[in-house]
């Protein structure tokens, strides 16, 4: 097997060990939800993820280890979601819902392209220090919830799950240029929320 980290876990999964399944769902459930969200939308995402997990258990014996477990799980999720859609997928929604704290828009720059309102230094400069503020965590959740399904999923798969951009394109069947646009806009909204919180101390 090419993915040694997976092979120990796989042995335990095949034996039906509950702790192994807990590790598996703990590691991959949110990535699977993100894939399902992006393809079928929030209404059907939970059902798709459930079906995907059942398919995973059903097909565990035939998993060959030619890809990582992660890729295998996310591919099953994407396929389950696409089967649910059957007809052609929804149009890729590139329209951009406004974030609660905006973005980094044109108003931040002078006509010559220089910063007009440059970023200030933040009080905290490590993620741990920033996240000790419970209110900031809630505030970020709000911003994430404000993203469109596809945009939120792309952000989550990239930043939290560490997927490569081409993996995201393949799973969600979105072009690379669209993924780049979605990701960039999402990141600027998250940035704006952090910046707002650092400047005002509130959400």
């Amino acid at each position: 097997m090419d993915y040694p980290d997976d092979s120990a876990l796989l042995t335990r999964l095949l034996a039906g060990e509950q702790k192994a399944f807990r590790e598996l769902v703990g590691t991959y459930q949110s990535a699977m939800r993100a894939v399902a969200f992006a393809i079928v939308g929030s209404r059907n995402a939970d059902e798709v993820v459930q079906d995907a997990w059942l398919a995973v258990v059903r097909n565990l014996d035939s998993f060959q280890g030619r890809s990582s477990l992660k890729t295998w799980l996310l591919t099953i999720t994407a396929n389950t979601a696409k089967t649910r859609l059957k007809h052609n997928r929804r149009e890729v929604l590139l329209d951009d819902l406004p974030g609660p704290h905006g973005s980094v828009g044109d108003e931040r720059f002078a006509a010559d392209g220089h910063w007009l309102l440059a970023p200030h230094a933040w009080h905290q400069d490590t993620p741990e220090a920033l996240l000790t503020e419970g209110e900031l965590r809630e505030c970020l959740e709000k911003t994430l919830a404000s993203l469109s399904e596809l945009q939120g999923s792309v952000l989550l798969l990239r930043e939290r799950q560490g997927l490569e951009l081409d993996e995201i394109c393949n799973l969600l069947q979105v072009s690379l240029s669209n993924v780049r646009v979605l990701l960039h806009r999402a990141r600027l909204k998250v940035f704006a929320t952090l910046e707002h919180f650092e400047e005002t101390g509130q959400c």
């Binding site: 095949l14 399944f21 703990g26 949110s30 258990v57 010559d112 993620p127 951009l165």
Partner: protein, 77 residues
């Protein structure tokens, strides 16, 4: 030369190594000279790390799911 506004527009592609050599050099040159944009990029990276560390909750739900899947597996094998 690249303006600050253009740098911000290309910042995600810079962070994801999606820029061609010429643009990458342009970004690096700009960053070497512009404190504001260095700070912006640093804060963008920090935002990425914050998202990665954001806790996720929903543990009880995952416990139940794991139990169901493990049972299913044991029944089928």
């Amino acid at each position: 030369m690249l303006s600050c506004k253009e740098l911000v527009a290309h910042s995600s592609d810079y962070l994801d190594s999606q820029l061609n050599l010429r643009m990458r050099l342009a970004v690096r040159t700009h960053l070497a000279m512009c404190r504001n944009c260095r700070r912006f990029i640093r804060q963008m990276r920090l935002s990425q790390l914050v998202l990665r560390r954001l806790p996720q909750g929903q543990n009880a739900e995952l416990d139940a799911l794991a139990q169901r899947l493990a049972e299913l597996r044991r029944q089928s094998s």
